[in-house]
């Protein structure tokens, strides 16, 4: 029987992973809303976040706050470049073509990362000294608090951009009706590039925050990205609130599965529950029904 402090430990672990999944799920949703596709390069934008942080720290010798900021900015720029150089030249609006294009670009991105940073696993230091904090018998790494704090901050900034700025209004316009957006003068191509930049930014932040806990390699984003994708589906693909709820729920499910049974089965259990939810509610927790 796990004690209260054990449960607390698992709760924090679940929330931390959940926050990372939520960020990645948000990236999937932003692109899905403006283009109607699943962007598989999202998983590599997560890896890139960690890679850029590593290079900013050890190649450029930047202090941690600047390095983190730089990593997020560079990931956002990478996202924008993927759209501008990889997606837009296809001049296609066939969703299937575009989705396959993102799969291909994802493979290319992983190849580029393998060339640039090598195949070895690397270690990135946490944001601040890793002296654990004790809280009601549970042991917390400061990085966990940073993840929760910065994820919350990123979500608030995104909410502000979408709700309060003219750019956010244009993005919601394109998501709501692309044809109408063009007729009032909104440049859909630019908005799609911005949505890829945001996907890169949140993905990169997720990668930069989580790789100090895991390790860093050119394909670290693949499993994380898959979980983020699952979280987005769980929340009802496209809904931002759903993406956050889905991420946290998936993280908690995994963690509690590991606590109750065995950590070897945590993914099986988490994805099993995901399937069950979708059997009962195919549109996800907060998704809208079509029509």
């Amino acid at each position: 029987m796990p004690t209260l402090s054990d449960l607390l430990q698992f709760l924090f672990a679940g929330l931390t992973n959940g926050a990372v999944y939520a960020l990645i799920a948000l990236g999937f949703c932003v692109v899905h809303n403006t283009m109607g596709i699943v962007n598989f390069t999202q998983v590599d934008l997560v890896s890139l976040g960690g890679m850029f942080l590593y290079s900013a720290l050890f190649l450029l010798g930047l202090p941690m706050p600047l390095a983190l900021l730089g990593a997020v900015a560079a990931s956002a720029l990478s996202g924008a470049l993927v759209e501008r150089l990889g997606i837009r030249p296809s001049r296609s609006d066939d969703h299937l073509v575009l989705i396959f294009l993102t799969i291909g670009l994802s493979v290319i991105l992983r190849g580029v990362m393998k060339l640039a940073w090598g195949k070895n696993r690397m270690a990135v230091p946490p944001l601040t000294a890793d002296e654990p904090i004790r809280l009601w018998g549970a042991t917390l790494l400061p990085q966990i608090l940073w993840i929760l704090l910065l994820t919350g901050g990123a979500v608030l900034i995104l909410a502000w951009v979408f709700r309060r700025t003219a750019l956010g209004l244009c993005m919601r316009g394109v998501a709501s009706n692309p044809a109408a957006a063009a007729i009032v003068g909104i440049d859909g191509g630019r908005i799609r590039m911005v949505s890829f930049a945001i996907a890169g930014g949140v993905g990169g932040l997720a990668g930069a925050l989580v790789t100090p806990i895991t390790t860093l390699s050119y394909d670290v984003g693949v499993l994380l990205g898959l979980k983020g994708f699952a979280a987005a589906i769980l929340g009802g693909f496209g809904s931002f609130v759903g993406a956050i709820a889905g991420g946290l729920l998936l993280g908690l499910l995994e963690s509690l599965a590991a606590a109750g049974l065995s950590s070897a089965y945590k993914e099986v259990i988490a994805f099993g529950i995901l399937l069950l939810v979708l059997f009962v509610r195919p549109t996800g927790l907060l998704g809208k029904r079509k029509g």
Binding site: L169, I183, G185, I186, G188
Partner: protein, 254 residues
């Protein structure tokens, strides 16, 4: 003002428009009429950039429109409404009208995010302008409603408000009173006459003959993708070709 020169458009070998040529004079309300399938909506889609014509040219005040992407044309003063509406259903009434102001306040990403005082000032002005437009259309009470819950008549008014708030030089109206009741139709008619009085150039596609005859300065008749006649309402009413192609067919099907 607007010059349509030799416009042709085919859909998979089927001609929808062939060699259509006419002009809309500045400050006039020009009506485009014709039976269903005559190519009226296709032509309006070519002018607003949703479709690209296969042949011919479209000039607005000497500037060539064809070839420009649709989203550039509002910047040159082209505004339009749709037969079946093209609103942002998930956005509120106010947000829909604010989107119509894109040509006035195109947000650059950086400027939008940095919130410089000048940007904020301009955004406040645009918001004020949108609210004034809502007031003029009697939509103030519903400004925070999502468009998806509005009545059809209200949606038509939101779409017109969104087109007008950008102060277009040329307004394209695609069947503005289709699906509206008599009272709402009369209201739109009054609105078109008011805009005409204010000097706006309007191209109107409409089946409602009473409305067309009462608001138009000039009428162009399309049949099977060709412009078969043009003239004043009086001339069109008595043109035998028009009666044969359009009115005759209508009474035959009635």
């Amino acid at each position: 003002m607007l010059r349509i020169e030799g416009i042709g458009k085919h859909f998979g070998g089927v001609p929808a428009l062939s060699d259509v040529t006419f002009r809309c004079r500045e400050g006039w309300t020009t009506a485009l009429i014709g039976p269903n399938g005559a190519g009226k909506s296709t032509l309006i889609n070519c002018i607003s950039g949703i479709l690209a014509p296969d042949t011919g040219q479209i000039h607005l005040q000497g500037l060539r429109l064809d070839g420009l992407p649709a989203h550039r044309r509002p910047f040159l003063g082209v505004g339009r409404t749709f037969q079946n509406l093209a609103l942002f259903p998930r956005l509120t009434v106010l947000e829909n009208v604010l989107c119509g102001l894109t040509p006035q306040g195109e947000p650059s990403m950086l400027r939008s995010l940095l919130r410089l005082p000048a940007t904020r000032h301009r955004e406040r002005l645009l918001r004020l302008k949108a609210l004034e437009m809502l007031d003029a259309f009697g939509l103030t009470d519903k400004s925070q409603w999502p468009v998806s819950i509005l009545s059809y008549g209200d949606r038509k008014r939101v779409e017109l408000a969104r087109a007008l708030v950008s102060e277009p030089r040329l307004l394209l109206l695609d069947e503005p009173v289709a699906g509206l009741n008599a009272e709402e139709t009369a209201r739109i008619g009054t609105e078109i006459r008011r805009l005409h009085g204010a000097g706006l150039t309007i191209l109107l596609v409409e089946h409602d003959m009473d409305l067309v005859m009462s608001v138009s300065d000039h009428i162009v008749v399309l049949d099977s993708g060709r412009a078969i006649a043009s003239g004043t309402p009086g001339q069109i009413r008595s043109d035998p070709r028009v009666i044969e192609a359009y009115l005759g067919r209508m009474s035959a099907t009635a």
